[in-house]
Symmetry: C2
Subunit: 443 residues, 2 copies
């Protein structure tokens, strides 16, 4: 969308023209535009939106913009918007608001709604319950196809999806599911019981949302029903919400692979202290590992003193080991995450890694050898070449095995981060290098 034109209209206070342009824009783009505005313009532009667009645009705004609007807007206006929001968007909004705002809104809700909101706000943060919505189509099995289609027709506007419908018994227990596709293709006189599927994929309220995402991905679902411990249908999760879960999951994995803790806010909004808390723990762990590398060096202090040229190659060798190891670790972490390989494939992959890393090591040794000759003569060059092959081999094998080891102990393979693998490879690299040097050079 052309944000530039909108900006100009806003600056020139051409509100009528701006309003017209906005009305023709996609809801997502309008929200995008408002999210980028200064605090003072946010409410102004939001108020230009026609009533039927306002709630939908509101649901696409960032929590920061939502908060901005909800403190400045009149209470009555806010309630009107909340009234129009889909239930899952309302819960998302309330989760981000301060307790006093939530309390006020709850006081203004009906008894039933209040109970429902409280129930949803209480689902654990990463659970299926926390992202499900209650706006689904519920059918009964004795209904005829025609009658079902009529119900869908009348209620379509207020449902998150009408493309999968859920068949429940008198106690709201989930008995079957039926797609609109199947309903449309059936003859009008058939009963729902005849065509509904009794075998279907479902989730529980307390299931982890990443597990639910994996089910939707694996079975190519548009929506998945969520039931409580008594098998009562309490909500559904649609594929568009799952796309966001996948994104969050990947962000978490990428951060973990770089030894950063879980960050669920925009970096622009994060305080320095918050960031320090997320980054420091692993950096301190890695200092301990680095300390061992230093201790390895201390053991060989005399060797180093006798052939100071060896230090020249230290960063080169330990970096190479760490880099090769980081490559292997990343390959395995990702392959395990998407299910391309399983824990039982370790030995198969280990053998392959052996071949790969020997080849890599030999090529890299061939590059390092002439540098060794020029810096320290043929003996140092031989030590460097031999060490390069050995450290790349060992670094790669550690890097590829660590994710499997973590997985074996039910830990997240992504903890085998590049920095961790690099640090471990450094310790072994230092020991291998100076050991080979002391033996070969007779120091």
């Amino acid at each position: 969308m052309d944000f530039g034109t909108l900006q100009i209209l806003l600056r020139e206070k051409q509100y009528n023209l701006l309003k017209e342009k906005l009305e023709k824009s996609h809801l997502v783009d309008i929200a995008d535009f408002i999210n980028h505005l200064d605090a003072k313009d946010t409410l102004l532009v939001f108020r230009l939106l026609p009533k039927d667009m306002a709630a939908e645009v509101f649901s696409y705004l960032t929590p920061a913009s939502q908060a901005q609007i909800s403190v400045e807007i009149k209470e009555k206006e806010l309630y009107a918007i909340l009234e129009e929001l889909r239930f899952d968007d309302k819960i998302d909004f309330l989760e981000e608001m301060p307790a006093n705002v939530v309390k006020k809104i709850l006081l203004n809700s009906s008894e039933t709604e209040r109970r429902l909101i409280n129930q949803f706000l209480n689902y654990p943060e990463d659970s299926a319950g926390s992202i499900m919505t209650i706006e689904f189509v519920e059918l009964k099995k004795e209904m005829k196809v025609q009658e079902s289609l009529e119900i869908i027709r009348q209620t379509a506007r207020n449902k998150e999806t009408i493309y999968t419908c859920y068949v429940t018994d008198a106690g709201r227990r989930l008995e079957g599911i039926i797609s609109l596709r199947e309903l449309v293709a059936a003859s009008p006189g058939q009963s729902v019981a005849e065509i509904m599927r009794r075998e279907f994929i479902s989730a529980k309220t307390l299931d982890n949302k990443e597990y639910v995402a994996s089910l939707i991905k694996k079975y190519d679902l548009l929506a998945i029903p969520v039931t409580d411990q008594e098998n009562r249908l309490v909500g559904i999760i649609t594929v568009d919400d799952i796309v966001d879960v996948i994104d969050e999951e990947i962000t978490e994995d990428i951060h973990k692979m770089a030894t950063v803790g879980k960050i669920d806010i925009n970096l622009l909004d994060a305080s320095p202290l918050f960031m320090v808390k997320k980054r420091l723990p692993w950096l301190l762990v890695l200092i301990v590992v680095g300390f061992f590398a230093g201790s390895g060096i201390a053991v060989f202090e005399e060797t180093i003193q006798a052939a100071i040229a060896l230090v020249f190659f230290l960063p080169l060798l330990i970096d190479s080991a760490g880099n090769a190891g980081s490559q292997s670790a990343a390959l395995m972490i990702r392959a395990l995450a998407v299910g391309d390989v399983e824990i039982g494939d370790w030995f198969e992959l280990f053998k392959k890694e052996l071949a790969v890393s020997i080849l890599l090591g030999l090529v890299m040794a061939a590059i390092a050898y002439p540098i060794g000759v020029s810096r320290g003569g043929p003996d140092v060059a031989a030590v460097v070449a031999l060490s390069m092959t050995a450290v790349v081999l060992v670094g790669s094998l550690i890097g590829m095995s660590l994710p499997f080891l973590l997985s074996r102990f039910k830990l997240d393979p992504a903890l085998a981060s590049g920095p961790l693998v690099t640090s471990i490879a450094d310790v072994t690299g230092v020991l291998i290098y100076f050991f080979i040097a002391s033996r070969y050079l007779g120091l």
Copy 2:
């Protein structure tokens, strides 16, 4: 699913029972089971499937299993399966088959189909054209709602999705889209023209598929229409196929962040030579960077000779710089990828990084100081603490800025990989450390 029971039935040759169990299983699970079988059992189990399930299960098999079946099966059987496949699954299959198989299959197809297959096989690998399907519902704007629903009813079985329908003119140019939800909610006598949306999100055949994925994600779409250069509708892409694109994209990014080239096959199937080709280039680049770190050391050889204890802290310091830098780089790469931050936010984030990295550096220096005292006395400890603060600061600032710099030059920010940042941080770390040491210790 309980693979164990199926395995036992297979081993005990209880084919009737196995067939019964399979018929009750989910297509995706059956495919999963077959994918894990030995070559000799693959065709055997596949042949147990009833005809109407066979094609669908086939579409969920890995290329390896598909190939296995298609070379062993009778030609007539293979054609029957291909006949039943959805068009996009057929193209996916043909893309993986050797040329002679494809040729044979094309010879066996009708003239129209042959032309269509050739057209689709020719779309570039990463284009929208390469992943779209032709099985969509096409409506005309003069149709009435009732008539449209009847068409959908009759053709539903063979369409990839019926939930979004496409309205085209006589020249097949796309004029509007309409969801089944809107059709169902409309009154039967309304015309399609009255209720269709004329403003909609669409893609071109040659658009990159990652761009299409970003559109579907951004606008929460179930499907997106794909048009050619003349705005003729040639296919659609559904959200379930996009979930796979997102997965591939993330894999590529994670590999890139670990300096591994693009790998689009399962690691278990990759040859060692293939893996070496994907991993070696960057390792060699990084050797060059490591060589500079060595050269830095060479400059300060006398300093090192005079205070050999300094070498003890070398891995600790350069690792810390690299680790802090890798953290910052990963944070920025991901935030840029999901659109949380933009290139214009660099300075804002740089200021924040300054605060964060000084804090991190000071804490880490406080940990390193006592180690310094115990290994080399108060002077060495002061050098180490000062260096730690400096290298963490510089490493972090390089790590956070590099992704922006790459982005600025239209390169992929993910190229600012952990290993690259680590290696650059090493060079600067070595220089800073020994510079401070030589000044402070007067060496």
